[in-house]
């Protein structure tokens, strides 16, 4: 297979929330999940109501933040 020279092939628009190692074993995946969850969700003790029942698509989007 021919190799491209790579000019303009890819532009990152953001970074992945996490990067999987090339060959994660079963333990590696477990450890990584913890790291991933911490990164994606913080410490998991959020008390602010960032999302509300308005997430429900039947009563769809949230009103704007309270002034």
């Amino acid at each position: 297979m021919k190799k491209s020279r790579g000019c303009g092939e890819i532009v990152r628009l953001n970074s992945a929330a996490f990067v999987l190692p090339p060959s994660p074993g079963p333990d590696g995946v477990d450890q990584m999940l913890e790291m991933i969850l911490s990164r994606v969700l913080g410490n998991g003790n959020e008390t602010a109501a960032a999302c509300t029942e308005f997430t429900c698509n039947l009563y769809a989007p949230a009103p704007p933040p309270v002034i």
Partner: protein
């Protein structure tokens, strides 16, 4: 050898044959790649490739030369972003399921949100109401009782028990909604006043909101605003003459003028008002008139004002399925109508949130993490809905149905939860059914509404797609094109959530 991740999403860009956007279904990565890189990834798919949204689909020609391999640097980025993986299909699906379950377990520990239903009763008789039977079938008459102050006290005594289950103590800020029936009937005022007193007494920073038909909120004028009921959702079903055919009183009379006057009053009182427009094929063409009415009444000049559309669902026997629109159909129709009616910018499309989310990622150059949704809504993690009898439900679409009751508040102010219902509602994730588990869009979609999935498939732990793949790709493409064109994002992006 690396293969293309089963969760790679290809977003074609209208008018651009040379480039494709990639989005990854569980790493949250967004990238722009050349067509040849996209072709390379498609050639490494273990399963069939996704059909494009725009243009005609043609399968790869027989004997077609394999696309050039990207450069090593590009391959590295593709791997880091998740599009190339060393995991086999089953391994990757198992990883995806564990990730989704892990995300959901964290979501279960978030702060609960509460809804109080002062009554199932309502002063309107809207034709499409999913609770219609409660007011028209006398065998449900027992439900139409108003919540008593003693029950409110009992429920507030129970809230700390619920919060303990979420690992929280001494909560100062609660999220409390009012729903019905119609929660803000004038006759409910003493009950609502008592509820507000208890809410702020027990958690001084409580955020209060209501889903109301708006007909009698003038009885609550002094309770509306940032220090009281801060946010209202009020429904209009079209311009006056059309609205008054659908949202009618029991005597058949229209409700528009009262509601419109009260919207103005609530905005003046400092409450945020979100107008919901229920749309079907019959009133779709009326939306420009609604937008003109909004502008004429000056509602849009209030910073707390917003309006959005939502498709009417065939929720009872009086609503013909053929008269309804899917979210995708409504979204596309409204997008097309905006070309001729720019005033429709005042009314959000159903998928404005999807576009806003993608736009934020493009505009901030990846400084925000993408949000991943292991479940569709808070019915699956932290919502507790209390009806007038102290019964607890997870989803307001199913309140009043004892077969799906999550539990009850005991006379002692304790909480009894039904383990089978907790299992049914609080474990529904994109990992709990095989279709979502293999879907590349699942963590962007959340699996769809459980009630609609139940109606469609006969089981709650199933998918309800609602055209999400099309909706997602179209909105990501639009967001990207507007980002590159430097078009200012719509004001509706101030919304908190994505739907």
């Amino acid at each position: 050898m690396l293969r293309t991740s089963s969760y790679t999403i290809y977003v074609d860009l209208p008018g651009n044959q040379d480039e494709v956007l990639l989005v990854h279904g569980y790493t949250g990565a967004y990238d722009k790649v050349s067509r040849s890189v996209a072709d390379f990834l498609r050639s490494r798919e273990a399963r069939h490739a996704a059909k494009p949204l725009y243009g005609d689909w043609t399968a790869a020609e027989e004997g077609h030369a394999a696309p050039d391999a990207p450069s090593d640097a590009t391959l590295d980025v593709l791997r880091e972003q998740g599009y190339l993986t060393a995991l086999g299909c089953e391994e990757e699906e198992a990883f995806f399921a564990r990730l989704a379950t892990g995300l959901h377990e964290r979501a279960l520990r978030q702060s609960p949100s509460y809804i109080f239903m002062p009554s199932y009763d309502c002063n309107l008789r809207c034709s499409y109401c999913y609770q219609d039977h409660m007011r028209t079938d006398c065998s449900f008459h027992h439900l139409l009782r108003t919540m008593r102050p003693a029950m409110i006290d009992r429920i507030f005594s129970a809230l700390p028990r619920i919060e303990e289950r979420h690992g929280l103590t001494a909560v100062r800020r609660r999220n409390i909604g009012l729903f019905g029936g119609e929660p803000l009937l004038a006759a409910h005022r003493p009950v609502i006043e008592h509820l507000l007193e208890k809410a702020f007494e027990t958690a001084p920073e409580t955020a209060l909101w209501a889903v109301t038909n708006g007909t009698e909120i003038d009885a609550y004028r002094d309770l509306l605003g940032p220090a009281g009921i801060a946010r209202l959702q009020i429904t209009l079903d079209g311009p006056p003459e059309k609205h008054d055919r659908k949202r009618i009183y029991a005597d058949g009379g229209g409700s528009y003028e009262r509601i419109a006057a009260n919207i103005g009053m609530a905005l003046e009182a400092g409450a945020a008002v979100s107008i919901r427009l229920n749309v079907d094929r019959a009133n779709l063409a009326d939306l420009p008139a609604v937008a003109q009415e909004i502008a004429a009444r000056g509602w849009d000049r209030h910073p707390g004002f917003s309006a959005y559309t939502s498709p009417i669902r065939p929720g009872n026997a009086k609503t013909e399925r053929a008269s309804t629109l899917s979210s995708w159909e409504l979204d596309r129709a409204l997008t097309a109508m905006r070309e001729e009616h720019p005033e429709l910018r005042l009314v959000s499309r159903p998928d404005e949130g999807l576009k806003a989310k993608a736009r934020r990622i493009f505009d901030t150059r990846g400084e925000i993490l993408p949000s991943l949704r292991p479940s569709f809504c808070s019915a699956h993690d932290r919502m507790y809905i209390f009806d007038p009898f102290g019964d607890i439900y997870s989803c307001w679409e199913r309140t009043g149905d004892p077969s799906v009751r999550l539990g009850r508040v005991t006379p002692e102010g304790d909480v009894e939860l039904a383990s089978d219902q907790i299992e049914a509602w609080r474990t529904r994730t994109v990992a709990s059914n095989p279709v979502c588990r293999r879907c590349r869009y699942a963590l962007h979609c959340g699996g769809g509404c459980a009630v609609l999935a139940l109606e469609q498939h006969g089981k709650m732990h199933s998918n309800y797609c609602d055209g999400f793949a099309n909706r997602f790709r179209a909105n990501v493409a639009e967001a990207f094109l507007e980002h590159t064109a430097g078009i200012t994002p719509d004001a509706v992006q101030a919304r908190v959530c994505d739907l």
